[in-house]
Symmetry: C2
Amino acid sequence: MKHYKLLLFLTLGFLSQVCIGQNQQATNEAEFKPSPVNQPGSEYPMVNEKGQVRTQISAPEATKVQLDIGGVKYDMAKNKEGVWTGESAPQDEGFHYYQLNIDGASVPDPGSLFFFGANRWGSGIEVPAHDQEFFALKNVPHGKVEQILFSSKSTDTTRRAFVYTPPKYDLEPQKRYPVLYLQHGYGENETSWPNQGRANLIIDNLLAEGETKPFIIVMTYGMTNEIEFGGLRDFDIQPFQTVLVDELIPYIDAHYRTKADKENRAMAGLSMGAFETKLVTLNKPEVFSHYALFSGGIYEPEELQDRTKPELIFISTGSKERPDAVKSAVSELQKEGFNAVSYVSEETAHEFHTWRRSLYQLAPLLFRAQK
Amino acid sequence: MKHYKLLLFLTLGFLSQVCIGQNQQATNEAEFKPSPVNQPGSEYPMVNEKGQVRTQISAPEATKVQLDIGGVKYDMAKNKEGVWTGESAPQDEGFHYYQLNIDGASVPDPGSLFFFGANRWGSGIEVPAHDQEFFALKNVPHGKVEQILFSSKSTDTTRRAFVYTPPKYDLEPQKRYPVLYLQHGYGENETSWPNQGRANLIIDNLLAEGETKPFIIVMTYGMTNEIEFGGLRDFDIQPFQTVLVDELIPYIDAHYRTKADKENRAMAGLSMGAFETKLVTLNKPEVFSHYALFSGGIYEPEELQDRTKPELIFISTGSKERPDAVKSAVSELQKEGFNAVSYVSEETAHEFHTWRRSLYQLAPLLFRAQK
């Protein structure tokens, strides 16, 4: 178990928000609890309802230890036993990558579980979110997350993907399913959506509430990390597009009970994965009918000329990113007759909580025309 | 991709062994290469054909940095730029857990991938093995490794297991398969066999060579880590036996196309997982017909009275463990008419290379009586 503990921070979260306005003193003493994504049995790192992160590590001979989170390094303090403790300023709700710095060495915090982001496996922490029930591990029927290894001639490699199949997939062996191809961002990989993204739990929960149709999700590495960050102009979509469209999709259609047509195929991505989604869906109008961009670009109506209108265009962003640009773009698409939907994740930035919420909002809109 | 690179150390490994005897000087300069289980793009840690491990980390302000592997701490040395480098003595072939120590802080090496062992996710390294082709990622048909989440009433939790299905499982939807339940050791968990154990790749390779019948493998957490290491006398098998036999096996038989009878069910485990295997197979003769213990105990003939003889008893160990005890026990079993097989992994100890090889030896012996 990756220790997806069933936390009930929901009520405490609301109380804490009330307190912040009324009594800053009381809130400063907000109780710290172990992060739900700690290593088994590890008390630290901790988080409180204000979103502060507290880390602790034994380093008796060290002269300087820092907590590095959200682009800020916080000095930690040593006690008589050589144990260092430190706290961050409040962080946004949801998941964050972080690390420790011990006498100049940047290392993972051995107390946390590890997640792939920033081009490496490193520490992650879960700051209590008022809406965290939607991605919690609950006692509902669970789908599977399957690791497949598929042969790619174009790259001369064996490549990995994760495939989510919904809870009843094995119990209804005649039924066929639509497919969502879901991409991570720069510095991440195919593990990011099933691990910190909790894609499987989000869909399990929606299905348990009858809020979405069942579908398969396929998550593979988008080959985004071979360029320098920000070098989008130099990014060539062709190698990944070939792997995705000419190799992975045929493999999935051969090995899973898919509805193998455009109407039953969606593509979505976050950040650089959204950039990829836009390029691939524009290049391959015959392959996908549902397009979704999370925190990464928009579609202009003129980019979508000369094709049947897609079934759905979904564009999302965090409220701390560029919500006005997204709303405006979707409004333009709607004026031109597109079925376009915008979503703004409140009080979040370019981080995974925005993208978990985006998937949660997107799923019920997918494949609605299908029986 | 977990960067299972296709290494060809095989030839170099043999050459190196020849050199060791003839020219110690030359061998001391054995070339270091990045470990195949490094983080993407990470040059360090490195290994050479002698089995030495070389680590490197930037820690400009540190006063003491050590490499901690195989129960020994090796001092590393700092250069002018504040980068520390150090080397271990030669290690046995195969996989090893290790960590770094920076001014008294024990931390994972940020250069390596992370594996669950010693009760935590930490660094691992792959020392070139002369026989490593048997667990290499090759361009052969690959089965899937599926994460399932199943409800456990007896523990009031949702629990995780990984399920390996062979390459043709999805392509032959009428076929049913036998099942091996495969347990990790103390301090490890359900990820240990599919990650550092490479169980899926070992079976993929055997199947590609026609050396084994296809079967499903189920790997779940054996609840071994809640006791103090060595406290076997206090270990109560009942909670895990209930999860395994009364909850997980029915879930697997409901969700997978299994041959759901004793003749088609095997149990194997390593170290404390072998101890569990012995207890469960002795308690539940009606559930399993193939028993396998890797580096953890033996069966005495008198323990197997009052039951139909199992189809197979397989007992293995590393040559650096207790090979004579294993051979002697198997000889006793054979005298009593049991189909018992021993296997000794040459030049390995109580580590994962012994257990990878044990699985490789066991698989062809499983379910032979079945069509």
